[in-house]
Amino acid sequence: MKAPKLIIAIILALVLASWQGARVSELRESETFYRWVVAAANQLRVFGTLEPGQAAREATAPDYMDESLFTDVEAHFEPRLNVEPGGEDADEESYSALIRAVQQGGHEHEIWRLASSAESRDLRQRFHELRREGRLASLGEVFEVGDLYANEGTLVNLGNMFLGFRQMAANLIWLEVDKYWHQGIMHRMIPLMYTTVTLDPNFVDAFLLGGWHMAYNITAPMADTPPALMEYDERYDAWVGEKERFYYRAADFLKDGIRKNPTDYRLYFDLGFSIYMEKIDDPTSAVRYLSEAVRYPHESWVRRTYYRALQDDGQYERSLQGWESYLEEFPDNQVAPRFIAINEGLIAERDGEAAYAAAREAEAEGDDERAAELRAEAEAHFDEARAVWENILLYYDDGYARTRVLRLDALELAEAGQYYEAVALLENARWESSDFFQEASEMIIEIKLEGGLPLSLSERQYLLRQQEGEQRRRANEADGA
């Protein structure tokens, strides 16, 4: 080959390679955009928001643009996505086509085609500009090349040193976390845990273990905060002490993990069960996250925990239905029959209490005949519930069933106007099962109020705290509106 031709061939190859390089870069940018679209659709459904609320924002936080950008993406994708309407979720009808497509699954190629199309170029560019400016909270804590110019250079230097081997850097830092954990130097673990997941956002086990360390191990030596010393935290809309702050911090850490790994069931499970169900005692949030965990490939205990959370949240019918389907699938399972019976008992109790309440209303209106009918109905329900609990006690030495029987006795005493006896019964019953303690304590206050009995100091404090919390919540809602 003659020299000029060869030079032309080399230049042509370099030009083609550069052109292909630009195409690859565009594909990578499309990929980042696509992953954000999918993750943001998931976050909006699960967390209800893409940006932290005013109370949760730091003073130096920028003006986030997540929701504005996502609204435009939804509007752009809406007419172009072919998604089935409706679904199991009652809220699903209000979701956009994009959120439904991500929730239902199987639309990944369609979303990718739209995210990488020429028509979406403006949206992609806007996304990357906002990303570079750090105005997308839904991306979570991320490591960016631009951070090189930031003042806090520790993380950057680590990333830079490893020339694309950031996972290894994250692993080495994680080994330090592990070392400090075994040495009991908890305060040194926390910043390193954040560094680890910043360097390797797909290190799901670091999120899981980090959340566990914060919610369980770090808080283990801490004394319980006396209720009077708790403070109302607007970010979490809850009364918190030192321990509770760590629980919420663990929840935030796991939520950051979900932002970066939205399809890993373990993060939803730990957030729902380990934090909200076991530590924060918020069954509604637990149900929300556990219902997400069962959407992705999961272990069998995840479903069982989900059904227990539904029960704790008072969704007995859904819990019962779940346990029945579980038993059909695993006929040898030992715990499903017990929980089926428990849910049947709880449904009967709930219906009995509703009938009692309706009977009281009917009495107040002077409709004695209707009131008598309702009372008979309530008693039938309570008898049904009592039969369920006693049946359970035939097979198991079950503290929970025992407390339910005592609870029924207390309700009947209160209904008969024997308030002192009802309270005395509950005072004893609440020590039978830890599951029943909170419920029994609240019942005691209700019965005392109904019967005009004096409240103890701690009961009055509890009521005051509830009222103050409610006032603050309303004030926050009014501010938000």
Binding site: L6, R28, Q167, D205, L209
Partner: protein, 279 residues
Amino acid sequence: MTAIPVFFHSLWSISSYTWREGMRKKILIGFLILSLLTIFGATFLTAFLETGGTGADAEVDAKLVKDICVTAISIFGVLITIFISASVVPSEVENKVIYTVLSKPVRRYQYLLGKFLGVQLIVLMNLALMGGLFFVALYFQEGILPTLLLWTILLTYFEFIVVSGFTFAVSCAATSPVLPTIAGLFIYITGHLTEYLYDVYTRAGQTGEWGDQVIGQIAYGLWLVLPNLQNFNMRSQLLHLQPNDPPADIMIPNLILYALLFVVAGLGIAYWIFRRKEL
């Protein structure tokens, strides 16, 4: 014998000779042994950590083994690629074997292509050995066969082939392997820092000075022309791949094409240098 079979026969003779010669090099065997020890040692490393256990702890162990092995394959793989690409031509010039080869009915481009293919055979053989041991180590440690890792190893190879192409081109101008080896390391490091050029481009122009804008444009031009090896770093996406992941499906063939175009350019430069070399 017709022309085409003769062409391929010569090519095969040169590449198989290069392969045999390369596999005898002590430094390569040293790198290979070190990489195999690292991969094998990764399974022992986690045994000494106190993370061992069940659940998330056990999965941390698996992740450590995977990351150490993938990193070892990348580091030792690129060292092997650079050393072998940098040495095949200069060492033949040094020991004068090249004069005997080129006195035969072999064209210079045939010789270069044969040498390059021989280098690729060595790199592939080393990658297969390291990857194979990685699979065995992971199977014994975790009882799993990570088939998705095949894609990461494939992309790692195409990253190496770009480095190999340009190192090979530099080696054609050199009389000893030292300069091309340094150049190869430089190409590898620069290739991984190309992303910063784009960042300079996006940040340029903020001062409003013309010099600032010119620097931005130069950075953009360099970003377009230089191979961006960070593009091949899809380990995270592939290791954490979910079912139905469309971007990975389209990225892999595009990255392969990207690498091959740079290889063609690298080989073109190598031939342009080598064709007029006095031998």
